[in-house]
């Protein structure tokens, strides 16, 4: 760790001072004028409320059981814990004293009202693509949110990450303010989808691997990644072996995004929250647009499989035998002996890529903890999966997950009891 810190400091020194210095330039002049034909204020607020859903602002800016948008939710990162701030209209502790221009600067330039750098847990590398018009609508909506007087909790970041000024170096390396540039060769719908996915939707915040400095690099955009600390694997959206949507029917993609369930699979873990709080509230046409864009993404090779030791043939057979027995006793009633499931209530196992990715963390955690897909308008009373962590020991979970990963048309790495054990202690809440 020390070495990383040292490298970080050296790196920052090495960056041409001018690049860093640029970060301190005030952006007063480059802010586009407020939209040429200002919207009627009522419509603007309605639009802003919708955009707040698209951006899933509430998910981070609301603590469990807390007042909407009053902040306080802990956001664990490899660098320490950040606490999402209060963005209600409260004048002292929220955004009540901000102007539309201040808000634009935060979204577009990642800077607070006082010019200080914002930590990119606030996904401004995505939000920078939001248009001024949409930013203004979002701001006008947030100004209507019931003011809550709740002082922001200090971030608990480790040295040196607690020095905001160092973000100048990070920004010089990884952040370029920019707006979404429509692709003229693509349809209006495709461009709308791209604007939502790349901008407010901030899909890459989870579905892209971060480097050692917590930055998502373009090359791996939407190519999947383990979400640090939370330990869920956000699959690649650009690989058919993971969650690439090239071969999915459009109706299945939109069902998954809008209702949380589809004939191919069901959302779980952090994606359940995204559907619950954000996607289910979007219009059919926006969901369709996102699906069109996601389906069009180039399909690349899957991320390399993890290099875990595989059992020899005899051991493998024994594990599969144990797994088969457990599957028959515990799983087959719902997921069926032939692995076809009873979709969308019970996802198919056969050919379900959530189960066969290089990282087995998702299926392991699903077996340990079970889960319910979110209640949505399209699926208000979801069927649940029981947790099995209390009924099965590490060997048994490893055996049944290995069995599921290697039955029917599935072929993927075996899972070790040690791996299962590691994920027992991951905080769920």
């Amino acid at each position: 760790m020390k070495r990383i810190l040292l490298a970080l400091i050296l790196l920052i020194i090495a960056i041409p001072a001018v690049m860093v210095g640029m970060q301190f330039v005030d952006h007063d002049d480059d802010a586009p004028a407020q939209s040429a034909a200002p919207m009627n204020p009522e419509q603007q607020v309605i639009r802003g409320a919708y955009l707040a859903r698209a951006g899933d602002c509430m998910a981070c800016h609301t603590a469990r059981g807390g007042q909407p948008y009053a902040g306080g939710r802990a956001i664990p990162t490899p660098f320490g814990t950040l606490y999402a701030p209060n963005i209600t209209a409260d004048k002292e502790t929220g955004l009540g004293s901000w102007s539309a221009k201040d808000f634009w600067r935060a979204l577009h330039h990642g800077k607070s009202k006082d010019g200080s750098f914002l930590y990119p847990a606030f996904p401004y590398p995505n939000y920078t693509k939001v248009t001024r018009e949409d930013a203004d609508a979002l701001f006008s909506y947030l100004q209507t949110v019931k003011p809550v007087h709740q002082v922001n909790q200090e971030h608990a970041l480790r040295f040196p990450y607690n020095y905001r000024i160092l973000l100048a170096g990070w920004r010089a390396l990884y952040f370029t303010p920019g707006s979404y540039a429509p692709e003229s060769k693509q349809s209006v719908e495709w461009n709308r989808g791209a604007y939502l996915v790349q901008g407010l939707g901030h899909c890459s915040a989870c579905h892209t691997t971060r480097n050692a400095f917590g930055a998502t690099v373009d090359k791996s955009d939407l190519a999947g990644g383990l979400i640090p600390i939370m330990n869920w694997y956000a699959p690649s959206l650009t690989s058919d072996a993971e969650a690439g949507l090239g071969k999915w029917e459009m109706a299945h993609i939109t069902a998954l995004l809008k209702t949380g369930a589809s004939p191919r699979s069901t959302v779980f873990g952090p994606m359940a929250e995204v559907v619950s709080q954000s996607l289910q509230h979007l219009t059919d046409s926006d969901i369709q647009a996102m699906a069109v864009y996601l389906k069009s993404l180039p399909q690349n090779d899957p991320p390399p499989a993890l290099d875990t030791a595989q059992p020899d043939k005899a051991t493998a057979d024994r594990i599969l035998q144990t797994g088969s027995k457990i599957y028959e006793q515990q799983c087959a009633e719902c997921h069926q002996a032939n692995g076809q499931g009873i979709a969308p209530a019970y996802s198919p196992m056969s050919g379900n890529r959530s189960l066969t990715m290089g990282s087995a963390v998702n299926p392991i955690r699903m077996v340990l903890n079970g889960g319910f897909p979110p209640s949505t308008e399209g699926n208000p009373r979801p069927y649940g999966m029981p947790p099995f962590g209390q009924a099965l020991n590490d060997q048994e979970v490893a055996a049944v997950v290995s069995y599921i990963r290697n039955s029917w048309e599935n072929r993927a790495g075996f899972v070790s009891p040690q791996e299962v054990n590691r994920y027992r202690s991951i905080p769920l809440d």
């Binding site: 970080l8 998910a59 981070c60 469990r64 059981g65 939710r73 802990a74 956001i75 664990p76 990162t77 660098f79 950040l82 990119p120 847990a121 996904p123 160092l166 973000l167 901030h202 915040a205 989870c206 971060r210 917590g214 930055a215 979400i227 640090p228 939370m230 869920w232 004939p263 952090p270 359940a272 929250e273 995204v274 619950s276 006793q329 719902c334 069926q336 009873i342 979709a343 969308p344 903890n369 079970g370 889960g371 979110p374 209640s375 399209g378 208000p380 009373r381 069927y383 649940g384 029981p386 947790p387 099995f388 962590g389 209390q390 009924a391 027992r424 991951i426 905080p427 769920l428 809440d429």
Partner: protein
């Protein structure tokens, strides 16, 4: 230099494994329950209108469109129909007042009670659906198991009985029966029964109130009462309660029969 995580899973709680003491017992118990756990044949059809046609219309296999089938995630630990068992940690939820069950579901979901697995399961379920789940379990009345054999001394049991029936006026602790019903089977809509619960479960709830881990909507009456009780008081009361047989056909008393001796935020539901 922070990461771009947007869906934090909350570092604030300590990793918690299942209570190790119970794991072994549960392995046996739950395996037993689970093999009989998916009662497709005798799934209870509890006023479940087939509202989610979009989600079940394309089923290749017949799937019972029932609430019982939807909540197998609950009965894996809480037992068939929510009956739990006499020697366990996971409490009986069958037959508890609907309002009480709904309050607990939202308490877990909204962070007033701390059991990460419950919070995880309920995180994205709507109030309407949680009401339906609460209603379903409140209407289940499977038989109660025989009470646990007690190793408490007669003196301890007597102290427990006295606390439960009479309270302790010197500490301003009301009798349990003052709120939980004359026969301790609870009071509709939101006060739970106290018999038919394992001693370990009762003790662990008192522990959670003492430590502020279990909360209810303010004013949190049980938290206030717990602060006045000693560990000996708690042990006596839980020992006596767990040793009581539940009368046949026990149901919560109707709402009008009890005037609570102190204000409880969760009673307004």
């Amino acid at each position: 230099m922070a990461s771009l995580i947007s869906f934090p899973m909350f570092a604030r709680s300590v990793p918690r494994a299942f209570p190790t003491l119970y794991v072994a017992r549960y392995l046996t118990l739950c395996a037993g329950l689970m093999t009989g756990m998916l009662p497709l044949a005798h799934a209870q059809n509890s006023n479940s209108a087939p509202t989610s046609t979009s989600s079940s219309a394309s089923a290749r296999q017949t799937l019972p469109d029932t609430i019982a089938q939807r909540v197998v995630a609950c009965t894996a630990c809480h037992g068939k129909e929510g009956r739990a068992s006499s020697d366990g940690f996971y409490p009986r939820i069958a037959g508890k007042p609907e309002g009480y069950l709904f309050n607990q579901l939202t308490n877990f979901r909204d962070g007033r009670r701390q059991y990460p697995l419950m919070t995880y399961l309920l995180d994205h379920l709507s109030d309407a659906y949680l009401h339906e789940i609460a209603n379903y379990f409140s209407e289940q009345h499977p038989p109660y198991p025989a009470p646990q054999p007690s190793d408490a001394t007669p003196a301890v049991l007597e102290r427990g009985r006295n606390l439960v029936m009479n309270g302790d006026s010197s500490k301003k602790v009301p009798a349990c029966i003052a709120c939980h019903g004359q026969v301790l089977t609870g009071v509709a809509p939101a006060v739970p029964g106290l018999i038919g619960l394992p001693r370990d479960y009762i003790n662990s709830q008192f522990g959670a109130w003492r430590n502020g881990v279990r909360k209810a909507k303010a004013p949190d009456c049980m938290a206030q009462i717990t602060q006045k009780l000693t560990l000996e008081d708690i042990n006596a009361a839980s020992s006596w309660l767990a040793a009581q047989a539940v009368p046949e056909g026990a149901v919560p008393a109707p709402a009008t029969t009890v005037k609570l001796p102190l204000a409880c935020g969760s009673a307004t539901e």
